[in-house]
Each structure stands twice: as C-alpha cells, then as structure tokens.
C-alpha cells in the first residue's frame, strides 16, 4: 500500500540566471498631457485638470467629474488602411504613446530581430455607448452594420495593432486584472526578457472608464468621490477626508530591452527594471486583507527578485486610489515593508493629478518612478489638507523636491485580488 503525503515535499529548483532589463523608451497620453514630457512637467507642477465630465452627459450621476485627456489627435498616419476600425477611444491613446516610446527608443526594424520582439499589454475593457445598446442591441438588430467594427471593444485588438507597429513576431499577450492590469503586463514583459524569451518587449497599458456604465457601476459600489462641486480637490489620496476615487484615462507605453543588446545598438537607456512581485490576496473580491497581506507579499517578492534591501528604495509610487480603505491598508502594508514614517523613502500617489487610469495606472505610475530616478526628483503630494494619521508613512513634500535615490517601486492593487510591485533602478551613466 502506498501512503500519500499531506503536504508537499521540499522542492528546491534553482532559479536560472537573469539577464538585465532596461527601459529605452516611454510614451504617454494622460490627462496631464499628450506626451511623456508634458505629463511629467504637469506632475511636477502639481497641475490639476479634473473637471465635470465632457465625454458623456453625466448630469444626475452620483459622481460627475473626471480627469480627461484633452486635445488628443490620433496619429492616423501611423495606421494601416482599415486599422482604425480596431481602435476605440482608449486604445487610440496607446497608438500615440507607442509611437512616442518607439521614437524615443530609436527603433528601426534593422536593429531588432522580429522573432525576439514581443508585445505584452495591460488593457481595459471598454464597451459601446448607451445609444448603441438601446438602438441596436436591445432591439436585437444583429445584422446592423455597426457590428463590423464592434471588435474595437475587445481588449486584445490594440495589442495586435501595437504588434504590427513594432513588427512583433515573438508573441502578443493581453492582460486584464482590473486596476493591476498594466503593472502585471510590465512585470511579465520584464520576465520575458530577464529569462531569455524575448529581447525587446513593447509593454504598458491603456484605459478609459469614463463612460455611463462604469460611472454607474463604481457609484453603486460607493467607490467614487462625491465632490462634484470641487473636482480639482476630489482625488486626495491619504488625506483624512478622502471619499473615493476620480476617473482618469490614458495610455502609457514602455520599451523594455535586454541590457546587452541595448548597449550594443547604442540605445539611450533611461533606467533598469530590477524586480517584480505578483501575488493574489485570495481574501475577498473587493475587501482588502485587513493587514495588507497581498501587497506586502508582492513588495517583498519584488525586493527579493531585485536582490536589494527595502532601505535601498527612495520612492514608492503607491496605488493610492483615494478611497478610505485602499489608502489605509496600503499605507499599513508599506509601513510593514519599509518601516513607519521612513526618513529615506517617500511615498506619493499621483492619482491626485492623473485620476485613476485603471488598467493604465500601473504603467504610467511606473513611468513616474523611472522619471523620478532619472531626475532624482520626488513628485509632489497634492491635495493633502490634513494627512490621515492612520497612514503611518512619509508622504513626499507638497512641492517637487530633489532626493538622492537608487531605486523606486510602483505598486498596483486590483479588484479581484491581484497585487503587483515593480522596481526601477537608476542606471549609472
């Protein structure tokens, strides 16, 4: 008779050597600006663009405000004939952001082997407007011509367009884990290169949930700020009187590359990707674990992966949505990993200035970490009128400040329990 073990025997599998991964291009379309530099400058200035929603008539919704992308012009010249039908408002942002990132990375097809080039993108879920549902879907007009381009609302289509833009033959991956989507996409892109599955990956995220369905859905959960009369100060992560998040939208695209190859082709290296952690809270669908277990484990995993001590990190860009519970639990998790009121590591949530970019949040917030390292600047904490004493962390000052730092970490926490932490490292020049 055989006996069966009730717990797994000890398994020690040696982790293979990692290759170094660097960032050679970043592009962004955000409420703060339609390029990365405009976005970054807006962030340093503490620019606040939240206003009543323009994308749809939001009168009579419990929450009527958002951070919207303004004056956006899709760079149609970059698209192939017929390709626009695969794009929606949110994924159009990604086309421009990708072009900016690729231009910055000075990518030409000669320099990169297409079979070693991949796309790994975190995308939001979008849907047609109310009119379409009432005029086509509800009356069951299933032969309506609008179905021809209904495909644009599928999350994987933008990845395919981005794959065409960069000529990726090494695979196209689309990830959706709610608000952790692009944090996760960045992490998987990093691992693809670190473990030798690809040499170059176009990664990032795009999203816009500024639509009637999402506005209604999040309001029902009591998750949105009700400060309709003071939109600019409604998103206030870590302020004592925060009352919910405010929608943002946009896209951020990053080019991750194998360090050796980037050096070989003389690419301009912006920073290094040093570590990635990803966990499931496996606690509740929306409630966070009361001690912040999932985010703690993700941050610790990222630090282990980067082989650094927590004291080496100078800046953490948190998920910080501006809901009571998220910010409190996240602060608890950070205090556990980095110590309470650390004097060497400062925290900010840039959602006070971008709003919640949902599936694109992880990518843009990691990009902010990269820029913070590059310029050795801490983005300001904005909209803090009275810091929440329950959040025992050192927030960045309210004005942009210089800070010598080697590493920065970006956290994402998603509905459904996925948590990511990704660490950027300064490149010695």
């Amino acid at each position: 008779m055989t006996t069966t073990a009730t717990s797994a025997p000890n398994q020690s599998v040696k982790r293979p050597q990692k290759r170094r991964v660097v960032i050679t291009g970043i592009g962004a379309v955000t409420p703060l600006g339609n390029t990365l530099s405009d976005t970054w400058n807006g962030l340093l200035e503490g620019k606040l663009v939240a206003a009543p929603i323009k994308r749809f008539d939001a009168a009579d919704y419990p929450s009527q405000i958002a951070y919207e992308v303004a004056d956006f012009k899709l760079r149609r010249e970059l698209l192939q004939t017929g390709e626009e039908m695969y794009l929606n408002d949110a994924t159009s942002f990604a086309v421009n952001a990708a072009a900016e990132a690729m231009e910055q990375a000075q990518l030409t097809s000669v320099q990169v082997d297409p079979s070693r080039t991949a796309v790994c993108f975190g995308n939001g879920l979008t849907c047609p407007g109310l009119d379409w549902y009432s005029e086509v879907y509800v009356p069951k007009k299933f032969d309506d011509p609008s179905f021809t381009n209904h495909i644009r609302f599928f999350a994987d289509q933008i990845s395919s367009v981005l794959g065409r833009m960069i000529g990726a033959q090494g695979g196209v991956t689309t990830i959706h884990t709610a608000c952790a989507s692009s944090g996760q996409a960045l992490g998987e892109a990093y691992e693809m290169i670190a473990y030798g599955d690809a040499d170059l990956v176009l990664t990032g995220g795009s999203d816009s949930m500024i639509n009637p369905f999402s506005a209604a859905g999040f309001a029902l959960l009591g998750a949105l700020s009700h400060r309709n009369d003071e939109p600019k100060t409604a998103s206030r992560p870590f302020d004592r009187d925060r009352d919910g998040f405010v929608f943002g939208e946009g896209a951020c695209v990053l080019i991750f590359e194998d360090y050796e190859r980037a050096i070989q082709r003389g690419a301009n290296i912006i920073a290094e990707v040093c570590g990635y952690g990803v966990t499931e809270s496996a606690y509740r669908i929306t409630d966070l674990h009361p001690e912040g277990r999932g985010p703690i484990e993700a941050m610790e995993m990222a630090l282990n992966d980067a082989e650094i001590e927590s004291s080496a990190v100078g800046y953490v860009n948190v998920h910080g949505t501006s809901t009571q519970l998220n910010d409190r639990i996240e602060a608890l998790a950070i205090a556990k990993v980095f110590g309470e009121y650390s004097q060497s590591m400062f925290v900010s949530s840039t959602k006070s200035m971008t709003g919640h970019m949902i599936a694109a949040a992880g990518a843009i917030e990691f990009a902010f970490c990269v820029m913070a390292l590059k310029h050795q600047l801490l983005p300001p904490s904005i909209n803090i009128f009275e810091a929440d004493p329950d959040c025992r962390i050192s927030l960045t000052p309210m004005k942009v400040t210089t800070h010598a730092m080697r590493y920065a970490l970006s956290n994402s926490v998603g509905f459904g329990g996925s948590n990511t932490a990704i660490i950027a490292g300064r490149i010695d020049t």
């Binding site: 040696k14 297409p114 509800v138 209904h150 695979g171 991956t173 209604a216 859905g217 990803v278 496996a282």
Partner: protein, 426 residues
C-alpha cells in the same frame, strides 16, 4: 524520469459536449453528442450552482464566470487535490478569460431599458438615475478576472497569477506562463486554463460581419429560431475540409489543468495525465485579421516550442491542431505543420477537437492535454476528432515510438501558441 519534470495531473472541463475529464474522452470515442447546430456548442442553460461547491462564490459573477468556476471545481476533484498540500504563496493561478460584456449584466441592462424613452432613445442623465437602483454589485459581475479571484480563494492560492484576454491563445498563455514559473522555481503548483462565453449574440453577429463565422450558423444563431439537434449534419463545424463551408462556430466552455512537479505529484498520489515539456508563443506582427499565409511566424513558434522541449519534429507522434474552421487560418496551420514535418512519410497522427467542442476561444487547447495519453493507448484516432478527409502526410494511427505530442492554437489576429507534451505510460 526526473523529479523536476512538470506533469499535468488533472483536468476540469465543462463544454456543451460533456462535463469532466472521462466524459470528454467517452464523448470523443463514441461520437457522443455530435453537435449539429450552433446552439449545440452553447451552454446557455448551464447551472453553475450544481457544480460549484461553495455557492457563495456565485453571488456576484456572470454566467461565463460560473462556467469557469465549475471547471475549476471539477479539476480539484479530478486531480484529487487537497487544499493545503502546497503552501498558499507557492500556488499560481493562470487564467485565459472570456472578457466580460455589459450586455451579460442585468444591472446595466435593466437600468438601460428603464432609461429608454418610448421613441427608443436613451437619455444618459436618466441612466445616471435609473442605475442607482441596480444591484450594488453590478460592476463586480462584469469583472473579467472573477474566475482568477474565486479560483484562488477556492485553492487558497496567493502566489503569482495572471489573467489573459488574448483570444484563442489565452489558455495557452496561461499554461505556458505557469509552467515557466514552475520551471524557474518561483511556484510549486499552478492551475492553468481558460473559459469562454459565446452565448452573447453580439459575438456571433460580429464574427459574421468580420467574415469569420460559418454563414448558415450565423443566420440560424442570429435569428435564434432553429430547432435543436437538427439532423442536418452540415451544420457542424468541419475544419480542414476543402469542400465544407468555411468559418468558425463559437462555443461556450471552460477547461483547467493542474501542473506541478512529478516528485510532489507522486508524493500526493496524483494520477499523471501527461508530461509538460515546453511551449512557445508567436505572432505575425501584421495587425488584426491579417496573417501571413506562409505561416512563417507559426513555424517559428512550433520550432521554439520543440526547442524548449529539447526535441525535434521527428519525435512527434501526434498533433492536436486548433483548427477553428476559419479557412484561411486552418490553411496556415496545415501549411506550417506540413513544413515542420517536412512533408515526410513518417508524419504524426492528426486530431482536432473543434468539430465536437466548437471554437472554445479563450478556453481552447487545454482538454487536448488530457487526451494525449489516451490517444497513444488507442489504436487509431477516434472518428469524431479525426479530420474527415485524409490529409497528407498525416496519419490516423499514432506512432507509439514517438512519445511527444504538439498542441497548437492560432487566432484570426495572427497570434499563435504551441505546447509540447509527452504521453504518460501507465
């Protein structure tokens, strides 16, 4: 045999054809329920409450999520997995997800209808009001990662995870990424697979407009007036047939496997279904709905998978191809396979499950893993999963001297995946 080998130790599968691992095999062998209409590939009437042990998991999920969670529940039973065997933080859950639609969500649809005037015009501000009386969990029902979340709760899995919304390669992305993390020692066990939902008529309508859907079926499905089990066999999906009407038929379903290291699997007394040897993904890079008819990227994908497994095409005794029925994509698959096997005389046997299961989209390419060892044991490929017409150079008899099988997926968006497994000798 090495203790670090990765093995597949259970299958949870819910399709219109069958529920459970053994039931699927029986169905393939005996031509079980041979689907004859689009509805036959659907699970509109499926009741997740009968398959999910903790019914509380179903309180704020969609119909599609219920199908996915039912498959994970079935998987735990099939694999005899005892929760707690592996430590929580060493278990990964990797899901190919169907996405979510606003239409499959009563909270939104009821509010929409309430906000629509007698002239059929909907008012956005009115929707702002009518929606406030919808179920508070409306948004949660529409999350595309509910199966990942609740599957993790069920397994007490707190390790690395992901949720792929990448069409036909989604489940393979889940499997390949889970296996990579296992191979690197980042986790000790993973649940990987996917679920699809094609019941929403908007899907069929869209596939039809894109010219990807089997036309007769499109008509029938869209008008929703066809009798079930019509004896007209021509309605079944028939891939790889030059004389059959082209186009795919979408199917509802879910399939998940457990993948772990052999030593630990053996220690817990799990039955090994097959050995996982390697996988790869690839893409044409030509944009949506454009693919390379020469299959260069697909050939490269298969080559990378073979190389990851450390074998050559000459070791392959069996191929399980995606064969969605979209003619152009099927032809790319055939062309790539013919080239990989060098048009040789000793080519492998070929099987396709799509005729019986339909196009499982995000759930596809998983049931095949559990099928491999059974096919090596049987004398020839059962008729239900054998392409009707003999396709040179492929065989209907598995060459047992070649113990490796290829499982292939391809999507109309020019994206590919390939997984290599080795049959298990019992």
């Amino acid at each position: 045999m090495s203790a670090d080998e990765l093995v597949v130790t259970g299958l949870g599968a819910v399709t219109a054809a069958a529920i459970g691992s053994q039931a699927h095999w029986d169905c393939f062998q005996h031509l079980g329920k041979s689907p004859r209409s689009a509805e036959d590939y659907g699970l509109a009437q499926f009741k997740a409450t009968e398959h999910v042990r903790d019914r509380r998991q179903l309180k704020s999920v969609s119909h599609a999520d219920g199908i996915g969670l039912s498959a994970i529940n079935g998987l735990i039973t099939d694999s005899g997995y005892q929760v707690g065997y592996y430590s929580s933080e060493r278990i990964g859950v990797y899901v190919g997800a169907a996405g979510a639609t606003v239409a499959d969500n009563d909270g939104y649809m009821d509010a929409l209808i309430a906000a629509t005037g007698p002239n059929g015009q909907v008012s956005s501000p009115r929707f702002g009001k009518t929606s406030t009386t919808s179920r508070p969990v409306t948004l949660l029902v529409g999350l595309a990662n509910n199966v990942l979340c609740y599957g993790s709760l069920l397994l007490d899995a707190r390790g690395p995870n992901s949720n792929y919304v990448s069409s036909s390669t989604s489940a393979h992305l889940a499997l390949i990424n889970a296996a990579k993390r296992l191979a690197r020692g980042q986790i000790d066990m993973a649940v990987a697979g996917g679920y699809s939902l094609a019941t929403d008529p908007a899907y069929a309508a869209m596939f039809k407009k894109l010219g990807l859907l089997r036309e007769e079926v499109a008509e029938e499905r869209v008008q929703d007036n066809s009798p079930n089990n019509s004896p007209n066999n021509s309605y079944a999906l028939r891939p790889f047939q030059s004389d059959a009407p082209a186009g795919t038929i979408l199917a509802d379903g879910a399939a998940f496997v457990i993948i772990e290291r052999r030593a630990a699997a053996t220690a817990r007394g799990a039955k090994v279904l097959a050995q996982y040897c390697g996988g790869a993904i690839g893409s044409d890079g030509l944009g949506p709905k454009r693919f390379d008819p020469n299959g260069v990227a697909l050939i490269a994908t298969i080559t990378r998978a073979l190389s990851a497994a450390g074998i050559s095409s000459n070791d392959i005794g069996l191929v399980l191809s995606g064969a969605s029925g979209v003619k152009a994509v099927d032809q790319v698959e055939l062309r790539a396979l013919r080239q990989i096997f060098n048009y040789g005389a000793h080519s492998p046997a070929l099987a396709v499950t799509s005729r019986v299961l339909g196009n499982l989209l995000e759930a596809g390419g998983i049931i095949e893993l559990a099928l491999v060892s059974e096919l090596y044991k049987s004398d020839r490929i059962p008729e239900s999963i054998s392409p009707d017409v003999a396709l040179a150079p492929f065989q209907q008899i598995v060459n047992r001297a070649k113990p490796y099988a290829l499982v292939l997926r391809s999507s109309p968006w020019g994206e590919y995946s390939c997984v290599v497994v080795k049959r298990e000798v019992v």
